[in-house]
Symmetry: C2
Subunit: 143 residues, 2 copies
DNA sequence: ATGGACCTTGGAGTTACTACAGGGTCAAGA
DNA sequence: TCTTGACCCTGTAGTAACTCCAAGGTCCAT
């Protein structure tokens, strides 16, 4: 394998992705088919590393592959008319901000639990469910 | 159905969950089986609303059901010895903080795209992939 | 030149839902 | 009172996104 080029196993290790998942992404068109060596091994370059890293992280944030695909399209054809793109961007921006808000509440409660734990030896009152309960997203309480 | 009590459809609407998903959560023990009416309809109370809302949001943030289960256990038996709990809390705290960092980078790039869009009419350069690429998590560039 | 690590394809299994099919419940209107 | 449409029940089958395995080929260090 030429320098700068990676085997599928090396790419997997670098990006924390299972080899089978990489082949799966190739089959469904998320990752472009890479060049092959004389022995028919897949040979990946730096663009693949960046693209796969992006895909894995967006998936890990709870977005479906359909959304990943839309974001990749944004990067692949950046000269599309704005109207098309704007709706997607605004929609995803809303999603992202909602997720950040939820994660911050989760973080605060986990933080509180960690401190409480170290002092008391017990987790006396755990309010983790309340951290992500209905009355946090709107003013309504007890439907 | 008594006041304060919800049918499965009402619970679904309130929490943005498909009816089938609620029944699925009951089957695998994520949601406790609710009381039944005379006609064998499931009848949910406020605790179910809170619990299901929590489950849906944690899932939406990209955590597997196994993690949701562990967090629910934390809430269900809060008087467990600290050692058991601490490892979980610290681990999840790390996960949560990593996700927040990634989402903030994604938000910044989407924000930039939205503004660029409004001025130029085209998305000239989209750096959304770079927003979540390898060199952001450590100092390494170009493997 | 050979054994072990790694690659190939293809197909089956897992997780977390999601969508029927076939039938029962219920409240409102004729 | 009867009916009709919206809702509920169980159970099974299908989907999305992986994950694992079998049977075999490649590569390279000893």
């Amino acid at each position: 394998m030429a320098k700068q080029e990676l085997s599928i196993g090396a790419l997997g290790k670098l990006t924390g992705t299972k080899v089978e998942t990489i082949r799966f992404y190739e089959k469904i068109g998320i990752l472009p088919a890479p060049a092959r060596t004389a022995g028919n091994y897949r040979s990946y370059g730096h663009d693949h590393v960046r693209r796969l890293t992006f895909v894995r992280r967006v998936r890990d944030l709870g977005f479906p592959l359909e959304t990943v695909r839309a974001m990749l399209d944004l990067a692949d054809q950046p000269d599309r008319p704005c109207g098309e793109v704007d709706a997607l961007v605004v929609e995803q921006l809303g999603e992202v901000e909602r997720k950040i808000a939820d994660l911050e509440r989760l973080r605060d409660e986990l933080d509180r639990l960690a401190h409480q734990c170290r002092r008391g030896g017990r987790v006396a009152d755990c309010r983790i469910i309340e951290a992500l309960s209905p009355h946090h997203e709107d003013g309504r309480c007890c439907p």
